[in-house]
């Protein structure tokens, strides 16, 4: 370690030298390997062991189950489509074939996302002469997990560019963005290239090699699309009953299908205190309430889908655990978090059931509540201020 440290110190470019990008890259690499030994100067003399990198890395650990499951599922759905396995087979059949196939499809997306995003962050850090900040460590992993596997890589790059520049850097970088960066990327793709982000063709990779052909009657529709058409019956027919939806061997965006894998991540986030349990809980409650209201109404088969089942479908669980809980874009007051989470869940289900063109209600709900979060906080704090002022008048 000392040798590595000495090596870094030897190649260190000057901070205000001619190539600020070189220093930005050096600093980013150095602080990756070493937590700097800066000591506290004024103020407290001892500090908590946590820093932003550790916070971010915990989220990445929490995403790993979803990533691994997603990779496996991509392969699983592919071979299902090809008829090489059927639902009757054990899920672990062709384990390595599926995993490697999935990895070959998913990892390039991850690499493009991180490569473009971090590249832009380095450039901005160089321009602004401040150290690379850790925000993109998590967004870079989130973006691939909310995309369909068939997305062209150049689209991933463009969307990441848009999200990091317009969604984050323009506002001042890490900690300053108003809307969720990963969802900005997805929204960009959704509105700019809708054919590639919705419909039935994009969720399952059906690239065929020589001699392969698709199973008869194959449709790559996601459970959400089928539920819209035929309600719970259609879901059960396509092997997306509530248990199956929870486990997640269904078509969908890469990381969003398995509530189980997401749940493992949620447990890690809650134990470490990184994500707000208030937001997670109230998002699920809000979604359930809306689903339950729709169950009461029951005007079409989609509305009749059981509320709990609704929560397992689409990107709801993923959004509730990883998107809604983003501290920068969410509500900052503890009371506000309940309201914020509740409405995310509430609107997510409302949007997806009312409007078939927007199956991704979760994305829109989170983005909308991101904008509303400061308003919620404003009123929570106004109540606090009023309490304080009332003390004066009561005394008077």
């Amino acid at each position: 370690m000392k040798a590595l440290d000495n090596f870094f110190q030897k190649i260190k470019p000057k901070a205000d030298g001619k190539f600020p990008l070189a220093h930005a890259v050096w600093d980013g690499m150095y602080t990756l390997f070493f937590v700097p030994g800066h000591t506290n100067k004024n103020g407290v003399h001892i500090r908590d062991g946590i820093d932003l990198k550790r916070t971010m890395v915990m989220v990445i650990f929490a995403l790993i189950p979803s990533l691994l499951f997603g990779i496996y599922n991509v392969g699983h759905q592919h071979f299902l489509a090809l008829g090489e396995i059927t639902q009757a087979n054990h899920v672990c059949d062709m384990f390595w074939d599926k995993f490697i196939f999935g990895a070959l499809k998913v990892l390039p997306i991850v690499i493009v996302s991180y490569g473009v995003g971090l590249g832009i962050e380095f450039v901005f850090a160089a321009i602004n002469r401040h150290p690379i900040q850790e925000g993109f460590l998590v967004s870079g992993m989130l973006i691939p997990l909310i995309l369909p596997v068939d997305i062209p890589l150049w689209m991933v790059g463009v969307a990441t560019l848009f999200a990091v520049v317009i969604g984050k850097e323009v506002f001042g970088g890490t900690g300053m963005n108003i809307v969720n960066v990963a969802l900005t990327a997805r929204a960009f793709l959704f509105f700019a290239y809708p054919t590639k982000m919705s419909g039935d063709a994009v969720w399952v990779n059906t690239s065929l090699e020589e001699g392969q052909k698709l199973v008869d009657g194959f449709s790559g529709a996601t459970p959400l699309a089928q539920a819209y058409k035929g309600g719970t019956e259609a879901l059960v027919n396509m092997n997306a009953s509530i248990m199956e939806s929870a486990i997640g061997f269904i078509p969908g965006s890469i990381g969003e299908t398995s509530a189980l894998a997401i749940g493992l991540g949620a447990i890690l986030l809650l134990i470490t205190g990184i994500a707000s349990w208030r937001i997670m809980l109230s998002t699920f409650v809000g979604g359930y309430v809306m689903g339950w209201l729709f169950n009461l109404w029951g005007a079409n088969p989609f509305m009749q889908v059981d509320a709990l089942h609704q929560l397992m479908l689409g990107g709801f669980a993923f959004g509730a655990v990883f998107m809604a809980t983003d501290p920068v874009t969410g509500s900052q007051t503890n009371s506000g978090k309940y309201i914020y989470g509740f409405f995310i869940g509430f609107f997510a289900i409302m949007i997806r059931v009312f409007n078939p063109a927007y199956p991704e209600g979760m994305m829109l709900a989170v983005l909308f509540m991101n904008i509303m979060a400061p308003l919620i906080d404003h009123y929570v704090i106004a109540a606090n201020i009023k309490r304080r002022l009332k003390r004066v008048t009561v005394k008077a």
Partner: protein, 449 residues
């Protein structure tokens, strides 16, 4: 009618090297310094120059804004040096101590028999007035005010802090005399806030003419600002005076013996101290002979506790308000992949280190920042250790943009930087919270005057 207050939010940081409850040594002062920098916003005006001879209780400087507030020498001797900094700002007034201390004499009487003005005059002349601070603004109390009430904290919950009960033990009469003097200074009550976590010393439980409140809970339950917030929160326009119980002893001694006796027990603690214990020394003492041979290499000397104290070097001087000398390991080493390690030896209020599983461990924390300064990202971590009905992050943000209106509305009149010390400790983004709060308080004090 005493009150019981349970503080729920906060955290106790258990550091190695807590002082054993015994007086190990007496260090007679060789040299002391009074530092105007110990008093925020003070504009000092000197009354002595280099070479002047002073007695214990002779004024060294006074407050330019309120000239009756005198700062007097804790020892008798000769003024050796006036240390100045940039723009001729006075940093220290150093006095070489005589072998035997000679005292100026002040009024010696039972405070119950004196009027408010006589008590004030005695305290101002002898230099014990600066022990009284006030909320709002966390500055020295203005003798021209009549405060709504006076709050005395009889507990210090900071890491390695001294046990006030141990220091005050057996000094019941001095303590009561001090209380009697303070009772005269306000039309409201004098609150004595004692430790509800343990059995408080009978010097405190037997105090008369005051309202005794029991405060229990983790740090910062010992902070007087937190106690006031839970007993009778401060509104705009109100002034509350605050003191530490052990300073009340010095005030009491003034009225009993007619002199400014600045000797004090100091907790000499920290993992770098060979035998952590209490020592007897004097206000403003030079620490060179205290630490010589008694500490290990590689420590940082802090006058005060590791959260709110001031760093001094090995020939430095204790600060006016501090009854604690902490010596903790100096950091400075880079940690290879430090942010990834499980970290059994690291302490964190978040749940991200394995050490969280071991609740009662003591830690040997060094002065590493453990990260770099960032913008606010994580939410909810300040609120977990800030037991007031005030939004700490929003308050700091309003200070950063110098929004006076918002600062007022959000409760700046109730807070002091020490209340934010745990927030600053816990901050993932390594924000200098105490510094910002100090700047905010100074700004709004200037605006309001």
């Amino acid at each position: 009618m005493s009150k019981d207050v349970k503080i729920k939010k906060g955290a106790n940081i258990k550091l190695k090297g807590a002082a054993e409850k015994l007086h190990s040594n007496t260090f007679a002062a060789t040299e002391i310094a009074l530092k105007p920098t110990d008093f925020p916003t003070l504009k000092p005006k000197l009354t002595v120059k280099q070479g002047d001879k002073v007695k214990a209780g002779s004024p060294l400087f006074f407050n330019k804004e309120i000239e009756e507030v005198l700062f007097t020498s804790p020892v008798s001797g000769e003024v050796t040096e006036i240390v100045r900094g940039e723009k001729r700002k006075i940093l220290e007034v150093r006095v070489k101590a005589d072998a035997e201390i000679q005292y100026e004499s002040f009024k010696q009487a039972d405070p119950n028999s004196l009027s408010r003005e006589e008590i004030k005059e005695n305290m101002l002349k002898s230099g014990v007035w600066p022990f009284i601070k006030q909320r709002p603004y966390d500055v020295i109390a203005n003798p021209n005010d009549v405060p709504k009430s006076i709050h005395i904290t009889a507990m210090d919950t900071a890491p390695l802090a001294p046990d006030y009960g141990f220091i005050a033990h057996g000094r019941k009469e001095e303590f009561q005399a001090g209380l009697d003097a303070l009772v005269k200074l306000t039309d409201g009550k004098v609150h004595l806030n004692i430790n509800g976590n343990t059995n408080a010393d009978e010097v405190f439980t037997g105090a008369k003419n005051v309202q005794i409140n029991r405060i229990s809970g983790p740090h910062p339950a010992g902070n007087v600002g937190i106690q006031i917030h839970h007993l009778e929160p401060i509104n705009k326009g109100e002034v509350v005076w605050v003191l530490k119980a052990i300073d009340v002893l010095t005030i009491g001694k003034l009225f009993k013996d007619g002199k400014f006796d600045a000797t004090r027990s100091v907790a000499f603690a920290g993992s770098k101290v060979k035998k952590p214990s209490y020592i007897k020394t004097v206000l403003g003492a030079n620490i060179a002979n205290i630490v010589k041979d008694n500490v290990e290499e590689g420590g940082r000397y802090i006058s005060g506790n590791p959260l709110t104290g001031t760093q001094i070097d090995e020939n430095g001087f204790m600060s006016f308000y501090d009854y604690q000398l902490s010596v903790i390991p100096e950091g400075g080493n880079n940690q290879f992949f430090g942010w990834l390690k499980p970290g059994l030896d690291k302490f964190s209020l978040s749940g991200t280190f394995i050490s969280t599983l071991f609740q009662n461990k003591e830690y040997d924390l060094n002065t590493n920042m453990n990260g770099e300064e960032r913008a606010f990202v994580v939410t909810g971590e300040y609120e977990k250790v800030f037991p007031m009905d005030i939004y700490p992050v929003q308050l700091i943000k309003s200070i950063l943009v110098k929004d006076i209106d918002n600062m007022e509305k959000l409760g700046i009149y109730e807070v002091a930087p020490e209340d934010f010390a745990l927030c600053e400790f816990a901050c993932t983004s390594k924000t200098p919270a105490q510094q910002y709060v100090r700047e905010g308080l100074d700004l709004i004090r200037k605006e309001m005057s």
